[in-house]
């Protein structure tokens, strides 16, 4: 589960990290009020940032500066009217614009191949780390935390020195690195990213004093660990969760909507991906990924069918069930029931193999479903059915 920047910053602050003040607004008037406060407190400008759960907000025009209250209100209104990568901007974050002397990248991530938490740092902050990794891999320094002792202080010092942080900021930077690691562990995150970690000139006092500040934050929580973080579960953004995604989550179905026209209902994640791949190979495009899970009862089959049919692009449905623990006849009965409740007539191709496949076949034939024996055949039949439907419609 991805968190919004403001929520991520809250977690960093709780871990004791230096994060400059911010406000969240959902109307241009609230943007104006927040900007007025920061400008009156001595900020020369404020930054206004779209709060959407996608990367590349800046490039999309979702991050702007403003020097006056009027300008802040206008900019806020413009950003609140935007849609970035399909997501409408409902809220913006307002913060005093920092006077930046240097930018770093600092992140902690669950590293699968080493089975450790990996701390990554770079003297090239403020840009996407994937870009740095591609173009100048040598500019990223890495250190693995110990699985039981955590990130040790000497490791943190080594990391920040190799990032190019000056010796005068060594202690602060090292404690920030340890804080990032702790924020990951205490929240069961699989990613905590501070980008940029900036060396900021203290506003307005002319002293030229520099301090390290976390100016942007990205946090992703391990979904499997949400059961022990009810506070984080409560942050799930209902505005950004598609109603279909919510129904799927509540039914225990893994569902991801895609752009194609062939709806897929499969048991098992690997088999569901394979079914999509074979639809593509047969010349079609999958409309979704759907793993119905184990022991698919009739009500779950009906729910899966509703999810698929809610997508108007769907012109055919491919059901692929390998009965192991899941009994084929149970799924077949579920399909018959689901079709009787169906509001839209879409051709369906069903392949059920494994446990009780014969009984399933009898039920499906009696109900005049189109069936298939092999996976490849099922994909081809579904693609053919979708194009027939297209010609008729």
């Amino acid at each position: 589960m991805k968190l919004h920047e403001a929520e991520a910053k809250d977690l960093l602050r709780s871990a004791g990290l230096p994060v400059p003040d911010w406000s969240v607004a959902s109307t241009p008037a609230e943007v104006r009020d927040a900007a007025a406060r920061y400008l009156a407190a001595g900020a020369e400008r404020v930054v206004i940032k779209a709060q959407v759960l996608v990367g590349g907000r800046g490039k999309a025009g979702g991050v702007k500066l403003a020097g006056t209250e009027d300008e802040a209100e206008q900019v806020g209104e413009a950003i609140l009217a935007m849609t970035i990568k399909g997501l409408p901007v409902r809220r913006v974050l307002i913060a005093p614009a920092a006077d930046i002397a240097a930018e770093y990248y600092l992140g902690a991530v669950l590293d699968r191949s080493s089975r450790r938490v990996l701390l990554m740092g770079s003297g090239e902050g403020g840009v996407e780390i994937e870009e740095v990794a591609r173009e100048r891999p040598g500019a990223i320094v890495r250190v693995h935390a110990h699985p039981h002792l955590g990130l040790l202080d000497y490791q943190a010092r080594q990391l920040v020195l190799r990032m190019g942080v000056g010796r005068e900021h060594l202690r602060t930077a090292a404690s920030i690195a340890v804080g990032v690691y702790r924020a990951l562990v205490s929240n069961d995150a699989d990613l905590v990213e501070v980008n940029p970690l900036a060396l900021v000139r203290t506003a307005g006092d002319g002293s030229g004093a520099l301090s390290l500040q976390c100016l942007d934050a990205k946090v992703t929580i391990d979904d499997s660990a949400l059961f022990r973080h009810p506070d984080l579960e409560a942050l799930r953004d209902p505005d950004e969760e598609d109603p279909a995604d919510r129904e799927a989550r509540e039914q225990g179905i893994s569902f991801i909507r895609l752009d194609g026209s062939i709806g897929c209902m499969v048991n098992g994640a690997g088999l569901a991906m394979t079914t999509m791949d074979l639809v593509k190979r047969a010349g079609g495009e999958p409309a979704n990924f759907l793993d119905i899970g184990g022991g698919a009862r009739a009500d779950k089959v009906s729910a899966a069918m509703r999810l698929i049919l809610a997508d108007p692009k769907v012109r055919a449905i491919l059901v692929n069930i390998f009965g192991g623990i899941t009994r084929g006849d149970e799924v077949a009965r579920g399909l018959v029931e689901a079709r009787s409740e169906q509001t839209r007539d879409v051709p369906m191709v069903v392949r059920i193999v494994g446990t009780n496949a014969e009984e399933a076949g009898d039920i499906l034939r009696a109900a005049a479903f189109e069936t298939a024996t092999s996976l490849d055949e099922a994909a081809q039949k579904a693609v053919a059915a979708a194009s027939r439907g297209g010609a008729a419609g």
Binding site: V117, G270, L375
Partner: protein
């Protein structure tokens, strides 16, 4: 011979009095697996599966009383890390964790404990392993197998069944089929299982079923090119059409930052001289092209 599970397996079922545990204990017994003990804290002294399997409160007691050497875990995610460490602490050599949804940071702490003890963990979020004709541990349906000389290792569940069924239909038998699990942090990797197959005289060829996310397939390809030259490998990678940044059902199946794509895995496998199937149904044919004969 076979790997991981066989006639020497003396199985302990952790969570045997639960719905899943009892159901699968029954299936494993019916397949011929020697299920010697069950553990459910607080239920010690009862018998499970129609009185045929003694239940103990602790793994330590179960091992002492029955000589169990392998365990399979069907307990809920919050209790599963504890169950793994308990089994290893009791001297169990091979632990299969079927449980799905264990927090990744828990596994990150548990895996080094298992490794330090010299035990082997398969999973979590895995279907287990079957050595056809000898024993099955986990949830893989027993009736799809045919005994033979091809080893299979996979990150998936039902996709594995699909491939096994296709092999069996083509008359190509299996030595051992192992599901290593769909989570980001797992106990045994492709390379761990490939090295078991490399040393197993019964296994003549290997099928590797991978999917998007991580770089375990790339690592396995490099390892196989160096260490598995005498045994042909046929692979299949699921998720060629999966979009970036979306978790495809399995916690570990996600392309992020352009890494973990099916294309990268297929290229690495092919560069290592491994035949990659476009569909599970092509696997038997590719095995035959590699010199494997029906058994």
């Amino acid at each position: 011979m076979s790997v991981l599970v066989g006639t020497e397996t003396r199985l302990l079922v952790q969570g045997i009095t639960g719905r899943e545990g009892e159901f699968h204990a029954r299936q494993m017994l019916a397949y011929g697996t020697r299920v010697v003990a069950g553990v459910t804290p607080g239920r010690g002294g009862v018998s499970a599966v129609d009185g045929s399997v003694p239940v103990f409160d602790t793994c330590e007691e179960a091992v002492r009383e029955t000589g169990a050497n392998t365990s399979v875990i069907y307990v809920p995610a919050p209790a599963a890390p504890d169950a793994i460490v308990e089994a290893v602490g009791a001297g169990i050599g091979t632990v299969f964790c079927i449980t799905e949804g264990i927090p990744a940071l828990d596994m990150l702490k548990v895996v080094p404990v298992v490794e330090a003890s010299g035990a082997r963990l398969i999973g979590p979020n895995c279907p287990g392993a079957t050595s056809p004709g000898r024993a099955k541990v986990g949830i893989i349906p027993g009736n799809i197998h045919h005994e033979g000389r091809v080893g299979l290792v996979s990150r998936s569940g039902t996709l594995t069944y699909e491939v096994v069924q296709a092999m069996t239909d083509a008359g190509i038998g299996q030595s051992t089929c192992v599901g290593i699990g769909g989570d980001p942090i797992i106990g045994s990797t492709f390379v761990d299982i490939l090295s078991l197959f490399a040393a197993d005289p019964q296994t003549e060829a290997v099928v590797l079923i991978g999917e998007i996310g991580g770089e375990a397939e790339e690592t396995a390809a490099g390892w196989a090119a160096e260490n598995l030259r005498e045994k042909p490998v046929v692979a299949f990678i699921a998720g060629r059409t999966a979009p970036e940044g979306k978790r495809m059902g399995h916690a570990g199946a996600i392309i992020s930052g352009g890494r973990g794509t099916a294309a990268s895995k297929v290229a690495a496998l092919q560069a290592a001289g491994i035949r990659v199937a476009n569909s599970p149904t092509e696997i038997p044919q590719l095995l035959e092209e590699a010199g494997v004969r029906p058994s």
